[in-house]
C-alpha cells in the first residue's frame, strides 16, 4: 500500500523501529497482560512521543499530521500504540492552558520521557460521557486542594507519573451552567500514591492497562491547578479533537495492517486447488474494507488540515474517528473471516488485532455519541441525550 502524505521519512523510521517488536513480542505481552515497556522506551528514546511538544520544551514541535503519521505507522506495523499514545497528547492541556512555570516544570521532562504524563482522569462510574455530572470533588483548603472521588477506565495509570484530573470545584447546583465549576489539575501520582491515591487494574479483553483510581483525601498543591478554577471543562474539550484525530489515525493503521494481512493470506492459501482469494466471496469484503479505510483516511486528513489551520474541526474530528474505527472493525472482521480457523489462532496475531481495534468503537467516545453530536450540532436536530 502506498503512502499518501509528506511524512515519508518519519513513516519509514517508525516502521524500522517497529520491526524490532514483532508479533511474538506483542503476543507475549498480551498473554501476560504485561506493559510493553521496551517498546514504549524505544519510542520515547527516539523522540516520537515528543512529536507535538514545542522545541523550546525539548520536543520536535511538529504538527498534528506528523503525530498522526507516527501512530498510524505503529499500528500498521502490528504494534499497539495504546500503551503510550496519550503521552503524545495529554500534555496538550498543560501546553495550551497551563502557566509558564507549569510548562517549564513538566514539559521538558515529559518530552524526554523522564515523566510519563499519560493518565487522563475524566470518566467516572456514574457518569460516562456525561462529563458535567462527575462527582470527584476538589475542595480548596489553604494552599492546596483536597480531592475525593473515583475515576474509571483510566488507562495506563500504573505507568504514569502525572495525571491530568478533572474534578468539580463548585457543586453542580451552585453554578449557572452545568459545565461550569469543573477544574483541571496536574496530579503528581507518585506523591499521591503515598497518601490517599489507590489504583486498581481492570482486566479486560485486551492488554490495555486500564484501571480504576480512587482518591481518598488526596492533597494537590494549589499551584497544580491548570488555568482558572471552574473553567476546566473547556480545557478538556479543547484537547479532544486532537485525541480523536490521533485515535482515528491509529484505526487507519490497524485497518491497513488487517487488510494487508487478509489479502496476503487470500493470495497464498490454496483450497480446492486455487488461492482462496480467487473467490469473490473472499475478495469483496477485503476490497470493501480497503475502500472504507481509504475514505476514513481522507476524513482524517481533512480533520487534520482544519486542525492545523486553526479552524473548528469538531465535526470532522468526530467523523474521522467514527469512520476510521468502523473501517478498522470491518477490516478486522474481513481478516478473521478470510483466515478461517487460523484467524483464531494466537500465532497469526489476527485475533489480537481484532480484539484491540474493537475498543475504538467505544473509546475514547462511543460511536452513538458521535452520531448524537452530528445530529444536534451539524444537522440541527433536537438534542437526544
Amino acid at each position: 500500500m502506498e503512502d499518501f502524505d509528506d511524512h515519508k521519512d518519519i513513516r519509514e523510521a517508525v516502521r524500522k523501529l517497529c520491526e524490532q517488536f514483532p508479533g511474538e513480542y506483542w503476543r507475549k505481552a498480551d498473554a501476560e497482560r504485561a506493559y510493553p515497556a521496551e517498546f514504549v522506551k524505544a519510542l520515547t528514546d527516539a523522540g516520537y512521543l515528543a512529536t507535538l511538544i514545542p522545541e523550546e520544551y525539548g520536543g520536535s514541535g511538529l504538527t498534528l499530521s506528523a503525530a498522526a503519521a507516527v501512530l498510524e505507522e505503529v499500528q500498521r506495523a502490528g504494534c499497539n500504540g495504546a500503551a503510550c499514545h496519550a503521552q503524545m497528547y495529554v500534555m496538550g492541556t498543560v501546553l495550551r492552558h497551563g502557566n509558564e512555570s507549569q510548562k517549564e516544570k513538566y514539559l521538558p521532562k515529559v518530552a524526554s520521557g523522564e515523566l510519563r504524563l499519560q493518565a487522563f482522569g475524566v470518566t467516572e462510574p456514574t457518569s460516562g460521557t456525561d462529563t458535567s455530572s462527575i462527582r470527584t470533588f476538589a475542595k480548596r483548603e489553604g494552599d492546596h486542594y483536597v480531592v475525593n472521588g473515583q475515576k474509571i477506565w483510566t488507562s495506563r495509570a500504573e505507568y504514569s507519573d502525572l495525571m491530568i484530573l478533572l474534578a468539580r470545584t463548585t457543586p453542580k447546583d451552585q453554578v449557572a451552567k452545568r459545565t461550569d465549576g469543573l477544574s483541571v489539575f496536574i496530579v503528581d501520582m507518585q506523591e499521591a500514591k503515598k497518601a490517599g491515591l489507590t489504583i486498581r487494574p481492570i482486566r479486560t479483553m485486551m492488554n490495555h492497562s486500564t484501571t480504576e483510581v480512587f482518591f481518598d483525601n488526596v492533597k494537590v498543591p494549589a499551584e497544580n491547578l491548570v488555568g482558572e478554577e471552574g473553567k476546566g471543562f473547556r480545557y478538556i474539550l479543547s484537547g479532544m479533537n486532537a485525541e480523536r484525530i490521533l485515535i482515528a489515525a491509529e484505526c487507519v493503521g490497524d485497518a491497513k495492517w488487517l487488510i494487508e494481512k487478509a489479502s496476503n493470506y487470500a493470495k497464498d492459501r490454496n483450497v480446492f486447488g486455487r488461492p482462496i482469494g480467487a473467490n469473490q466471496g473472499i475478495q469483496f469484503p477485503i476490497a470493501r474494507a480497503y475502500a472504507n479505510m481509504r475514505a476514513a483516511e481522507l476524513m482524517v486528513r481533512e480533520a487534520t488540515r482544519l486542525y492545523e489551520s486553526g479552524k473548528d474541526c469538531g465535526a470532522e474530528a468526530n467523523m474521522a474517528k467514527m469512520l476510521a474505527a468502523d473501517a478498522s472493525n470491518e477490516a478486522a472482521n474481513a481478516c478473521i473471516q478470510t483466515h478461517g480457523g487460523f484467524g483464531f489462532a494466537e500465532e497469526y496475531d489476527v485475533e489480537r488485532k481484532f480484539r484491540e481495534t474493537r475498543l475504538y468503537q467505544v473509546a475514547p467516545i462511543s460511536t452513538n455519541l458521535i452520531l448524537s453530536y452530528l445530529s444536534e450540532h451539524v444537522l440541527g436536530m433536537p438534542r437526544s441525550y
Binding site: 502506498e2 515519508k8 521519512d9 518519519i10 519509514e12 523510521a13 524500522k16 523501529l17 524490532q20 528514546d45 527516539a46 523522540g47 516520537y48 515528543a50 512529536t51 520536535s60 511538529l62 507516527v70
Partner: protein, 248 residues
Amino acid sequence: MKVLVPVKRVVDANVKVRVKGDGSGVELANVKMAMNPFDEIAVEEAIRLKDAGKVEEIIVVSIGPAQAQETLRTALAMGADRAILVKTDETAEPLGVAKVLKGVVDAEKPGLVILGKQAIDDDANQTGQMLAALLGWAQGTFASKVEINGDKAKVTREVDGGLQTIDLKMPAIVTVDLRLNQPRYASLPNIMKAKKKPLDEKSAADFGADLKPRLKVVKTEEPGGRKAGVKVKDVAELVSSLKSAGVI
C-alpha cells in the same frame, strides 16, 4: 579523519521481487525501495567510529536516480554529516560506480572508505575491491570487526572456515559483513536535523568518470521452484533411495 560511506538505493529486503515481462531486469515501478542493508551497517560503523573520536566527518555518497536522495537523508538522519548525490538514470554497475567513487575520493580525501560488501539487488560484491584497485589502497573485505589505531586499521574478516584478522595501512577500503553491528534507527529529532544537512548534487562527469553500461544483461529469470521431497521410513530406505538416485 574523514570517512566516506557509499550507499545504494535498492529494492527493500522485505519485498518479493518480480521479474519484468521482457526479462530485462526486475520490476522497480511502485516497489518499496530502501538503503542496501549492508550499507546501513557501513553507515552505523562510521557513526560508531565518530562517536569513539576516531573520525571527524562522515560523508555519504550515492550514485543513482533523484530518489536516492531519500536514501542519503536516511543516512544523514542516522548521523552522517553531509551527502553527495551523483545523479544518474543509468543502471549502476560496479566498475562505473568504482570509477566515480575514485573521483569522489580524490576530491574529498577521506582516510577511510567503508561500504557494504555487496548490494542485495545484484549481489555483485565487486565495488569495494575495484575501488581499492583503482586507488591502489589496502582493502579489508567482509569485515565483522574494525579497529582504527593511528594509521593502521585492524579488520577481522569473515572467511570460509573462520575469522581472519589483518592489519591495513591507511588510507584503506573496508567492506562490511552482516555481523559487524546492528544499525540504529533514526530518532525523530535527527530526522528533522537531517533535512537541514547539506546534500550536493553532482554528475559522474564532475568526477571525471562515466556510468555508461559496460555489461549487457542477457536474461533475468526467477529461480525454479523447489520440488517436493520424499519421506523415508528408516536409514536403510534412505541409503537405498540415495543409491538409486545415483548420489552415493
